[in-house]
Symmetry: C2
Subunit: 569 residues, 2 copies
């Protein structure tokens, strides 16, 4: 009989416990959770704050009792593991309710401690008006504060998943919001031009967006309201509360009622570290493909561990629910003597922001540049389903691939409809080792309400294959934005589009449908950077010009990508 | 300079013309279309009839003028090719407006004639109240007839894509509908139990569904309304129209006002056949992977050609827009001297029916049985996104795989949300040669509004892998419906579920959470067929019982699959 002890009862830990029991009726399984709840829906927390998920109970997926009945797992909540004695295979556990501590033994130990919100050591950070959001207790505290203090203005610090979801949640409650982000963009997994679509959405929704801006100090500040004698309003108590004065990295001061700190998470490694387990280069617990730590009887899964990046194999911290679940299952099998392997992580992820979704898989361009890996990129902006059927919205898709062999390196998409589907399709294609050439031939489901005979992903594959095969040479926004003296930008859209949508600086305009007749207006001695709205007409013009002997390249993604890239927030 | 003539200006032909021009400015390209329109949205026709697509113009994607301007393609509409002289490489073309005919030459010829609605030679089939739907003219005729005769009741014959879409379109116009289908199920690409979900939807929407019923005769019938003297209503002209009396294969008579005949399409091969081109075993034009017919200078694409099935390589007729588009592109390249290859066809397809979508890819179980290929199947019924986030609906997914190596053979899904995404993901996985084992590890985008940490497809992969690895032995509905004397059915749901949802016949009921305590109630000498609502609790029970020495199998898909399978319409 194997005695398995699991530290942490959420995603990875809970998956492991259930799987372990299914694989072994004889194992003794104990789950130690320092919080009140196990297996709660941590991804749902912002949506309960915002009101989309009405019932708090909906977030509590399992209870210690239900886990005991279904899986015969002994769950001890409010039980924190203080230390591990890996030599004697014992744990020192503290019951947080009684304060008592006791020793527990294990044959196999699984660490699933998760990751904690980063809380920088800046003055005032421990103010009772500064919140983070990791668990049910955090959520309850935020909801209680919203109810008690009725903040008019909240500052969200950090524009990652939780920051953006909290912006939406607070917006739904009618609260004014400032969003601070130290980086030049929100949503770090995507590239800046894709994030600009979110920036635009935030601004459109009335969120005060401050990029390149960090929080350096939190000061309480009595807002000293006017007394009734001054306002002649006697029947409504004046709103007397303590507001915060935030000092920003820009030197400015921001007055706010409440702060949500969401600048990221760090793996919870203190227990692993004090037990002498090896940590990785990114600061997470180091594990092998079997989810084993440096101690053969201790496994670790979830947000606390490092896993190899799908493309590079480099260690990465990927705090996502899907991988945690899969890792839990694998660790359970291996603790029971099987040999299952976790595969590399693509970090496929998605975030809803108001009417938009943004999603990504694989590496982004920033990473490819940092790693100095060869890459090419194409953009397409194609309707989410047949344009003539109601409800189609553009899908803006960025596809990164290896220019030598066409391998998919990564993909990002943003839009109002069908974003999850396209990134899922590309995530499968990337995992399968497909190239952009294969994307052309994917047979995806098509009827007018759902897609197009030539889907967004097919389209991206065709464009990228044209590039790979040399059937199209492309250029990028930076070149069109400031062409050299040896280049001329040719806009092949129709003149009203330039007026209504916007024009490239310094561009010649000949509509694509007049191009054959007006070739004489183009210089043969210069490189022509052709551009249209999304890149399709530009491709037609490119092929035409090239065959007529012009030196030419086409702006991938056209004016839409130009506009996204050049936007300033 | 290559002279390319393209016969047929819709999907495949139009794609080929545009691609050919992009690849060659010097080629002469002529497109001959016997109808009035090129490149129209034939998939959108039912939606204009139903009113979802308000503007008829929205369906006309290109005009001869736009094609000329953009691609320098000479389009001749109302020009029908009467014969091909493959020796001299000439065509006899008839101008349908003038009645004149002329000769046209070609270097390379592309046939993209499509497929025509099947019209069986039954008495009365040519009644002016019997319609088919293939093109704009057909659509216009149906709309005109609906306006003129204001039919109260329409009979749709055939429950395929067009038949079902027409049912929905007519229903949206407030018309009562009978749907006749000769087969025991609608929507032939999916298996009967999946189609039953559509049958239920049709009946719920008030459609009179008659399965196993064909149309054998159409008779006109004067409905002889009451005259004003009989009704005392003088100011409203009585509705005097000629109704139809349909004789059905069941011997019954059905009175209706109008018939939409949608029993399938057959490839248009008369031109190819008379030119001596080789036809395939399925009656379509035979082409090689380069879309070449038996004449090296004649190519063919689209609904008229046979392509190899993805799994078996057997010739198949797949009249879908996506393959037609891709084939057109490939044919264009090859006519210009390149060497591109069309890959096998999975026939991924989707159909919307009222609030439901149903989709499939690869082979179905009926085909696997007919071909006597080894297969196993699993069902999952999982929420389209996190259950605690509003708007989740069950996705019912059937996954067919090779029990020897886990290769994906086919998949079908039905439900109200996320059907296209799951089938697309599985279509990519199948095309990539993935196994069900790989499906477990797919990293799909997850946030509560979009998916689950363990997506439907992951879930299906896990279940199938359990089967493949022998971690679970499953049984199917037929066994649970009539267990042998050596078997006992064990329902592990909670008693209220049996009352509210329905119970298995002859089943013992022990809730899964009480099973460990009540093992004594189970026979050790019989095989236990365990079942729950969707298969998940059944799996927990299966693992528990097996480890306690019972002989046991779990019903894949649980009561939900049982119910779908056993339903009678």
């Amino acid at each position: 009989m194997t005695k398995i002890v699991i530290v942490g009862g959420v995603a990875g830990g809970a998956s492991a416990a259930a799987r372990a029991r299914r694989m072994s009726e004889s194992a003794q399984i104990i789950m130690l959770e320092r919080g009140e709840f196990i297996s709660f829906a941590n991804c749902g927390l912002p949506y309960h704050i915002g009101g989309d998920i009405a019932a708090r109970e909906a977030l509590l997926l399992q209870t210690p009792e239900s886990f005991k009945k279904r899986f015969d797992v002994e769950v001890r909540v409010f039980n924190e593991v203080m230390s591990i004695d890996a030599i004697h295979k014992t744990l020192r556990v503290k019951n947080l309710l009684t304060g008592d501590s006791y020793e527990e033994t294990y044959d196999k130990l699984l660490l699933s401690p998760g990751a904690a919100p980063v809380k920088p050591p800046i003055p005032g950070i421990n103010s009772p008006h500064v919140f983070t959001l990791r668990n049910i207790a955090d959520m309850d505290a935020i909801i209680a504060a919203l109810a008690a203090h009725k903040p008019q203005h909240v500052t969200v610090v950090g524009g990652g998943f939780i920051g953006l979801e909290m912006v939406e949640a607070l917006h739904q409650r009618g609260i004014r919001i400032s969003l601070l982000e130290l980086a030049p963009q929100v949503m770090a997994p995507v590239d800046p031009e894709m994030a600009n679509v979110l920036h635009r959405e935030l601004v459109n929704k009335g969120v005060e967006l401050r990029l390149n801006t960090g929080l350096t100090e939190v000061n309480s500040r009595d807002n000293m309201p006017s007394e009734p004698e001054a306002t002649d309003v006697y029947d409504k108590p004046s709103h007397h509360h303590t507001a915060l004065a935030l000092t920003l990295s820009t030197g400015q001061t921001l007055i706010t009622d409440m702060v949500i700190l969401a600048i990221g998470v760090k793996p919870e490694v203190s227990l692993a570290n004090s037990a002498g387990l090896v940590l990785g280069e990114r600061g997470g617990i180091k594990v092998d493909a079997g989810m084993r730590t440096s101690d053969p009887d201790i496994y670790a899964v979830g947000d606390a561990v490092e896993t190899p990046d799908f493309v590079t194999g480099n260690a990465a911290l990927v705090p996502l629910a899907g991988p945690a679940n899969r890792q839990g299952r694998i660790a359970a099998d291996n603790m029971l003597g099987l040999d299952k392997q976790y595969r590399r992580t693509q970090a496929t992820a998605i975030c809803k922001l108001f009417d938009l979704a943004i999603a990504s898989t694989g590496l982004n361009e920033k990473s490819l540049q940092r790693l100095q890996l060869p890459y090419e990129k194409v953009y397409v902006h194609t309707a989410s389903h047949a344009g003539y059927y109601p409800g189609a919205h553009p899908v803006t898709l960025k596809l990164l691939f290896d220019p030598n062999n066409g391998k998919i390196l990564g993909a990002q998409a943003v839009g109002m409809d069908g974003i999850d589907k396209r990134i899922d399709v590309l995530a499968v294609a990337q995992r399968a080792g497909m190239t952009v050439r294969d994307l052309q031939d994917l047979e995806l489901s098509y009827a007018p309400p759902f897609g197009s005979a030539r889907d967004v992903v097919n389209q991206a594959g065709m464009v990228a294959t044209n590039v790979l095969d040399g059937d199209e040479q492309i250029c990028h926004v930076d070149e069109v934005a400031s062409p050299s003296a040896e280049q001329v930008v040719l806009d092949v859209r129709n003149p009203p589009e330039l007026t209504n949508v916007g024009a490239f600086p310094q561009a010649l305009n000949i509509p694509v449908d007049q191009l054959r007749q007006r070739l004489g207006e183009l210089p043969k001695d210069k490189e022509i950077l052709v551009a249209c709205q999304v890149g399709l007409r530009g491709h037609v013009a490119y092929r035409l010009l090239r065959q007529h002997g012009f030196k030419v390249r086409n702006l991938t993604g056209g004016f839409k990508t130009f506009q996204m890239t050049m936007a300033k927030f």
